[in-house]
Symmetry: C2
Subunit: 204 residues, 2 copies
């Protein structure tokens, strides 16, 4: 298949896997690029869009419960919702334009009717902590406790965002074709396997 979506827990190596997979297959790679594109189209500042996309509207109502009132009267939601719609359109456009790997952004849900391979990447807390330390920005000096709190909070927001816009539970295996725990499975081996699947399916 020509579209691969990657959901990922923070610090599990999902971005690395996505980039390597795109490089191996010669596919386009998207994650924050999507946000830039949205920003250009809507003339909102990239920073603001990025903040809204990460944070998602608050307070959270379960999908299908109270959303009518919320959607009508909460200007913050209306803005976020229009950004989500814009983002969905852009993802759909891009996926039609050329084969691609898309990390995050509910792409698995947005493209659910296309011929896609849906991957979820996760790992145990120790692995995430180790990875976050290894790849931390130079000016970021967080303690283990602060890092753990950051990991947990980023994943919580991703879960809420995904739930809010898809009505599905983030990271639940039924929504994916393969779930890979990078605490044991080496990323490079996973890349080889996923590339074989994508190419094999394409030749059907």
């Amino acid at each position: 298949m020509k579209i691969i979506t990657i959901g990922r827990e923070f610090g599990s190596g999902g971005r690395e896997l996505g980039k390597k997979l795109a490089a191996k297959l010669g596919y386009a790679y998207y994650d924050s690029e999507i946000v830039s594109e949205i920003a250009k189209k809507t003339s909102l500042s990239e920073e603001y869009v990025s903040r809204v996309l990460e944070k998602r509207p608050k307070p959270v109502y379960p999908v299908g419960y109270g959303t009518t009132f919320y959607m009508t009267f909460n200007p913050h939601f209306n803005l976020s919702n229009s950004i989500y719609t814009e983002q969905s359109n852009i993802i759909s456009d891009m996926a039609k334009r050329m084969p691609c790997v898309i990390v995050g952004r509910c792409a698995d849900y947005i493209l659910k009717n296309e011929d896609i391979l849906r991957v979820f990447v996760y790992s145990d807390t120790e692995t995430k902590l180790e990875r976050c330390k290894k790849y931390a920005p130079e000016n970021e000096n967080l303690s283990d406790k602060e890092l753990l709190s950051k990991i947990s909070s980023v994943d919580k927001e991703r879960g809420k965002y995904y739930r809010f816009f898809t009505g599905q539970k983030w990271g639940e295996k039924e929504n994916y074709d393969i779930c890979i725990n990078t605490s044991l499975i080496p990323i490079d081996k996973a890349v080889d396997f996923l590339a074989a699947i994508a190419l094999g399916e394409q030749n059907r």
Copy 2:
């Protein structure tokens, strides 16, 4: 690694995957053989042991809730519990004796302190139905509705059994190193990948 455990939803092809993987690696393969071994050791009839193992004691109490009373006074539980203990010992013995693939029987939990690769195999309902029809015994003529009910009931029992003896949720990705949805991922490709992981890790 020399031990691979496979949890699987009924009709998802977990047994096929396990057998092919064992053959490819030259590992021993176990599933119902374990039951036979238990039966020999405890002098209970194989059929009875099989029935108890599949059905697990009823009614079900959450682990850590009411189990003291239950364990003390319910003869059915005491028998099942002693069979589970016996089974755990046998699985541990076998895993020490030679490299193996073990399907089901809470092996991932029983061997959690060993160097193992924990696989879970699942698929969507349509795939399971198709598979069950393809491999149905000649004398089994179930309607789609009856098959679906069988699939759901077998998985429910497996989930209860696993929960009862491990305290963990059956099929939850955090308990596994890789979860494979056989609706899209071809079993033979998964076998190649898992063999590469097992052999790669062994050479570390």
